[in-house]
Subunit: 294 residues, 2 copies
């Protein structure tokens, strides 16, 4: 049941609301060996909050269902749901708890739209493309978790993976200033830029050299023999926002946002995503995307 | 995250809405050997519609997440979700599909409240207790499914179990007429009456001889050596409504509702549920409730 955007938009009475749901399943989205039930519950709320942020909305209510193989697991997950709900200012309406052989949690969210929702379809040639925050830290953290690496140099990266920080304020500011298109980076920049291209019937040009990548992400990726910029462009689960907007809007957003807003490319006529680095075109990065099989 | 009623009630803009979520998990709520993925998707919507019905609301929107061990299973489940959404007049906003070792589906629902919601807490001594439709057919159908019985005499019973018919119109009529308390029968009459007693700080007296039990339910239960009335009082998953209301309101409801409304008892001072049959008190029916272990 694809929504076709980060959220569905519905009119309830006199207001517009954004609605979405995301489910996390053990063995598919996380492993019990490296994510605690509390982490999983927390993240389930965070990724839904990120969907609302990507519409420019204010997250308000969540319904959460889930459960694990034993009461302790279910309780831990619920504690994480409550912790994140408090952290992100959403009110947990309830839901359902049950037993399940694999820890599973599904969160449905309702967000209030005070401005017209920012869809994937509003990117226009000439717009700048920018991202909030930083890229690749979550992917690097996942590599550390999968490799059993727990040292201090990966602690921040692991936390970025397990406890995403959705960009609600930046998203709302982008909506207020009139950004053209917005999407949250869950699949990875390369895939999510493509979603904007397809949604807006435009092309995008992204310069890998412009991606905001923290030093620890670069160093850890390099230590594993990975290209940090390719990791940042394909890794996924950043839960940053990708925004398309004219230069004037983007300047205003960069000045007002509570997180860094970094221009990484531009919207062009045509279709598809072109990646460049040092002035050279790279082949389609999807060819590089062997991350999930790592 | 207990809601404490069938739904949470929230004000969205200028209106009141009911919100709920229910999750179904293979091996816990159904077995793949007797429930098709399509049945499971259908039922997941139906039980949520029933929660809205029990508040007197009109179901409007669902978000559905889920998935199974292979794409065919997931697709079948989604087809059932769509079929039920059309059947019950709810709009599927989207959701999330994923892989999962055990077929799992979670539905979140939003229903519109045109009348003040009917809670579990409004039963008053002197009210009559009534149920819509019939009791025990779903439990008899489940016994047939668990026993591998598929003959024509159980076909209707099995369908009652796999394809519940939530009582939206009757619930809304009860709300309009000013019923005191209402709950949908998911756990079984004995348990759900107790929820009303606890929610309203009253006692209830239920006469097993008054329970509306269809002939085929009686005959099949008897053929298995089970007491049909005890089965109807404890079996669960009827997805009928239990309503507490003064006699005048109940008369109006019985006259207007699109399904039979049968008085099965009354609300009294004190606390707890008393079951009677042929003028004799029965011990607490929870002692009879060995259904799940059958």
């Amino acid at each position: 049941m694809p929504i076709g955007d980060d959220c569905a938009v519905i009119r309830l009475g006199d207001g517009l609301w954004a609605a979405a749901a995301d489910m996390l399943v053990e063995g598919r989205h996380f492993e019990a060996s490296w994510a605690s039930p509390r982490d999983v519950g927390y993240k389930a709320v965070a990724v839904n909050v990120s969907d609302v942020a990507a519409m420019g909305g204010t997250p308000r209510f969540v319904l959460a269902s889930g459960g694990g193989p034993d009461p302790e697991t279910t309780l831990g997950c619920m504690e994480g749901l409550f912790e994140a709900s408090e952290e992100f200012g959403v009110y947990p309406l309830g839901g359902d708890t049950t037993g399940s052989p694999a820890l599973t949690v599904d969160v449905a969210i309702l967000g209030e739209l005070s401005y017209p929702p920012v869809l994937r379809s509003g990117a226009r040639p000439g717009d700048l493309l920018a991202v909030t925050g930083e890229l690749g830290a979550s992917a690097a953290g996942l590599l550390a978790l999968m490799g059993g690496d727990t040292g201090p140099r990966v602690r921040r990266l692991v936390r970025k993976h397990l406890r995403p920080e959705p960009r609600t304020l930046a998203g709302r500011t982008a909506a207020r200033l009139g950004a053209g298109a917005m999407i949250d980076l869950s699949d990875g920049l390369a895939s999510d830029v493509r979603h904007v291209c397809e949604g807006s019937s435009v092309g995008c040009r992204v310069d890998l050299g412009l991606l905001p990548i923290a030093d620890d992400t670069r160093e850890y990726a390099s230590s594993l023999g990975r290209d940090p910029e390719v990791l940042a462009a394909t890794g996924g689960e950043d839960y940053e926002l990708l925004i398309s907007a004219p230069e004037g809007v983007m300047d205003g957003l960069a000045a007002e946002a509570d997180v860094p807003v970094t221009v990484v490319g531009e919207v062009v006529d045509g279709g598809g995503v072109a990646f460049v680095r040092d002035g050279e075109h790279l082949d389609d990065l999807s060819g590089w995307d062997h991350f999930r099989e790592a």
